[in-house]
């Protein structure tokens, strides 16, 4: 018996020494991110977490760079907008996919037509809006939309181009696991839930990236991500939780990089006739009862910027003249008395508890502030997978939500969030409290045909002013802050992108 055990132990030791672990070379950097990719199909996930990883393996016709997210050529060198429904793209020549196939107009047509297929794409709305994709020649494409869509080109950085031949010839499961794109990196290995290993694409059309091997490790648990950073197992960590900020700052080996996020967090109210919130004085009262500075200081630990509106500064529609209503609980009580609610009223505040930074705590704080002016709030906080479908049903009274629009244009957001709910056109899909104002709707609809940027900007700014000051459609709270931590010793030159994407061709080591 003893001899048998010894023998087995020897075999095991032998195997351990003989079989190399992972014989692939060590990565240049290891990045710990907070959410894993769901699949390697670039159209299958329209969330920024997924697009962030896909942006390394694939390119879109256009890309966004820089702190303002400027729209720049990528796979398309030039683009034009000949009429209300058409968009013409001149494609870059000499680009090859990872498998050696040439990139040309047929691939563009294939990628666009794939968007309306619910089995493989979450960009259904964009897909269904396409009337036709015309191939003029191998390197010129005209895309025609059904409805005039002024922000169409603004979205091109999120729609990635796939290789027609290899996607059609492969089995759908393989397409979900192995990406073949034109991007700066090729996938080396993806072990679900463990890591993603990427190697640089030396033939990349923009020039080979400087980081040759990148390893991404998704770690969803915040304290474990922190432990990975402190123990030196990760070089860059995204999504540092605000509670651990002080610990990172006080650690001499680590450096924090913070950046104002594009996402604004706000409260949405309904205005159905007969409900207390239908009266604008009540809405103003609720706005003034909330001490946003205290929320930023105590709950967000200083890592947020107060917001007076929903769009952020680079977005078309951002109105620099808007300011927040000051915190004034006395005035709030006065307004409630004038509206006939001296003894307050009851309302339910809904919100997600696993989506935004400190979302549940913010809801609790708002409930407490409103209680001080006599409004009794019942909290209804739940996971995002249940909360968001409920919002899209439009039956909420009062809820917390965050938003930012990848197109840098407030028009699309307004149609989805503020327009009266309309089954046919799909407007007001995310108007969860069924807010409805005819004046707002009319002004919004008039912007649908405007393509001149200056004209749109003026119209959307007026719209924004109307919504924030005259109607109080929403009560804006703050813009979140994105926190990243890096190992000082590795000398990583990293400037975070405003959309939180991690695009590794933009990162280098000094």
């Amino acid at each position: 018996m003893k001899k048998l055990i010894c023998f087995i132990a020897c075999i095991c030791m032998g195997l351990m020494l003989a079989l190399p672990g992972q014989s692939l070379a060590a990565a240049d950097i290891v990045v710990a991110v907070d959410s894993p990719p769901r699949m390697m199909n670039p159209h299958g996930d329209d969330s920024d977490a997924g697009l962030s990883i896909m942006a390394n393996f694939f390119d879109g016709l256009l890309q966004r760079k820089g702190l303002k997210g400027e729209l720049m050529p990528a796979l398309a060198e030039k683009w034009e907008h000949p009429d209300l429904h058409s968009w013409k793209f001149y494609l870059r020549k000499g680009v090859k996919f990872h498998n050696g196939n040439d990139f040309n107009a047929a691939d563009v047509k294939f990628s666009f037509e794939r968007l309306s297929n619910p089995d493989v794409s979450e960009f259904i709305n964009t897909g269904k809006n396409l009337a036709a994709v015309e191939i003029i020649d191998d390197y010129t494409v005209v895309v025609k939309t059904k409805d005039p869509t002024p922000w169409f080109a603004n979205n091109m950085h999120q729609l990635f181009m796939m290789d027609k031949e290899s996607t059609e010839s492969r089995d759908p499961g393989d397409v979900m696991q192995k990406p073949i794109g034109t991007g700066a990196y090729k996938l080396e290995e993806w072990v679900k839930g463990s890591y993603i290993k990427m190697t640089a694409n030396e033939d990349y059309w923009e020039g080979a990236p400087s980081l040759k091997k990148v390893e991404i490790r998704p770690i969803t648990e915040a304290s474990t991500r922190f432990a990975a950073l402190v123990s030196g197992q990760a070089d860059i960590v995204t999504g540092v939780p605000v509670e651990l900020y002080d610990k990172v700052v006080s650690n001499p080996k680590l450096e924090i990089i913070s950046q104002a996020a594009r996402r604004s967090i706000f409260l949405a109210l309904g205005n159905k006739p007969g409900t207390p919130t239908a009266d604008i004085r009540v809405r103003k009262a609720i706005y003034m009862a909330i001490n946003e500075d205290e929320i930023i200081e105590k709950i967000m630990r200083g890592h947020a910027m107060p917001a007076a509106q929903v769009p952020d500064p680079p977005t078309v529609g951002y109105n620099p003249d808007l300011t927040r209503l000051a915190y004034d609980p006395e005035m709030s009580k006065q307004l409630l008395k004038e509206a006939g609610f001296e003894n307050g009223f009851e309302i339910t505040l809904s919100g997600p508890n696993d989506r935004y930074v400190q979302d549940e705590k913010i809801c609790e704080a708002v409930a407490k502030y409103l209680a001080k002016v006599g409004i009794k709030v019942t909290l209804d906080v739940k996971p995002k997978s249940i909360f968001f479908p409920e919002v899209s049903e439009g039956k909420k009274e009062f809820y917390l939500i965050g938003w930012f629009d990848g197109t840098y244009d407030m028009g699309r957001t307004y149609f989805k969030l503020a327009h009266t709910r309309d089954m046919e056109s799909g407007h007001g899909q995310w108007n969860g409290a069924a807010f409805s104002d005819a004046g707002l709707d009319k002004l919004l609809e008039s912007t649908a045909d405007m393509t001149d940027r200056a004209q749109r900007e003026k119209a959307l700014q007026d719209l924004n002013k109307m919504a924030m000051q005259d109607l109080i459609t929403w009560i804006p709270l703050h813009y979140q802050e994105n926190l990243y931590a890096i190992q000082k010793s590795k000398n990583i030159a990293f400037t975070p992108r405003p959309d939180r994407w991690m695009v590794y061709k933009e990162i280098s080591m000094q």
Binding site: P36, D46, P118, E122, V230, S385, I386, P389, M423, W430
Partner: protein, 321 residues
């Protein structure tokens, strides 16, 4: 014996049907995955289109019938999140959970049994009292706290063991094993210990209680007076009679550890089935959750049947007819 096994298998199938029905009904009310899958900017019509393409517009009993029919052919549906077959997604992660669970159970069973026997021989000795007090700690401290404490001590402060992941693994066909590399074993240390601690404490206390009862029996006194060597008295005569409750516990624990090591896997970012279950619940990924629970039920039912058969082997007096 054969009829007994057949009867147990039929009971198992009935349990599976009931469990799957309950799951199905509950997750119907768990949120609407179609809204997320159609994308942020879809219109109501487009959402209905996606609903139809997934077959979610049909009435409940039709959906359930279809699910059972497909399940019998091995098709458990496609995950809403990853758009690949749910069963494949779960089985891909089985090696990771299995290795973790096996290590934890081996640790807890061997140490629990060994320490339990040791403690029962001289129950009032100081070191044995210390062990018993420690076992109380193992039972009452929750798993997540143990995990975080271990990470803090061994990864952050002392820095000898890694805090997350499986490390370097070797792929033997479809099975990714962490047992064959030193790095893999280092990564296994903390999560396995966290998982094992509770089971260890329970096994220890159970063994001690059983041994103390058996050691006071008449036949043990006879064995001592016959002059048998202590090893024989303790292991051949006393321990065998204590094994039935211990083996039952171990069987239940093994099933539970494989199926529900969710907390440990989340803390250590262990890419196992439990981790997948938690993320799927949060994302409202119904096919994966229902498939997982059916799979867990299968595993637990199988283990319990095996345990019952082990009884007959341990105690020849037990007959199933």
């Amino acid at each position: 014996m054969a009829t007994y096994i057949a009867r147990r298998l039929i009971q198992g199938v009935i349990v599976l049907l009931v469990v799957s029905l309950i799951c199905f009904i509950i997750f119907r009310y768990m949120g609407d995955p179609v809204v997320t899958m159609a994308g942020k900017y879809a219109t109501f019509d487009e959402i209905e289109l996606v609903r139809k393409s997934l077959g979610l517009d049909k009435p409940m009993h039709v959906q359930y019938g279809r699910f059972i029919w497909n399940a019998l052919h091995g098709n458990f549906g496609k995950s809403y999140v990853a758009r690949v077959p749910a069963l494949g997604l779960i089985l891909e992660r089985f090696p990771a959970t299995f290795e973790l669970a096996t290590t934890a159970i081996c640790l807890s069973f061997s140490l629990g049994l060994g320490l339990g026997v040791l403690v029962s021989l001289k129950p009032y000795a100081f070191h044995n009292r210390l062990i018993m007090a420690g076992s109380l700690g193992g039972i009452s401290i929750p798993t997540f706290l143990i995990g975080i404490l271990l990470i803090m001590v061994f990864s952050v402060y002392i820095g000898i063991l890694p805090p997350f992941g499986r490390g370097d693994t070797v792929a033997i066909g479809p099975w990714r094993s962490g047992f064959l590399t030193l790095d893999g074993l280092k990564h296994l240390a903390l999560p396995a210990t966290t998982l094992a601690l509770y089971q260890l404490a329970v096994t220890l206390r159970l063994t001690r209680a059983g041994m103390r009862e058996v050691l006071a029996e008449e036949y043990i006194k006879t064995a001592w007076s016959k002059g048998l060597p202590p090893k024989k008295v303790i292991f051949k005569h006393a321990l065998r009679n204590v094994m039935i409750p211990v083996v039952t516990m171990a069987g239940l624990q093994f099933g539970e550890v494989i199926a529900f090591s969710i907390v440990t896997e989340t803390i250590f970012q262990w890419p196992g089935m439990g981790n997948l279950l938690l993320t799927s619940i949060y994302e409202g990924d119904q096919p994966v959750v229902v498939t997982y629970i059916v799979l867990a039920a299968v595993i637990i039912i199988t283990i319990n049947i095996v345990v019952d058969i082990l009884y007959a082997l341990l105690n020849p007096k037990i007959r199933y007819d």
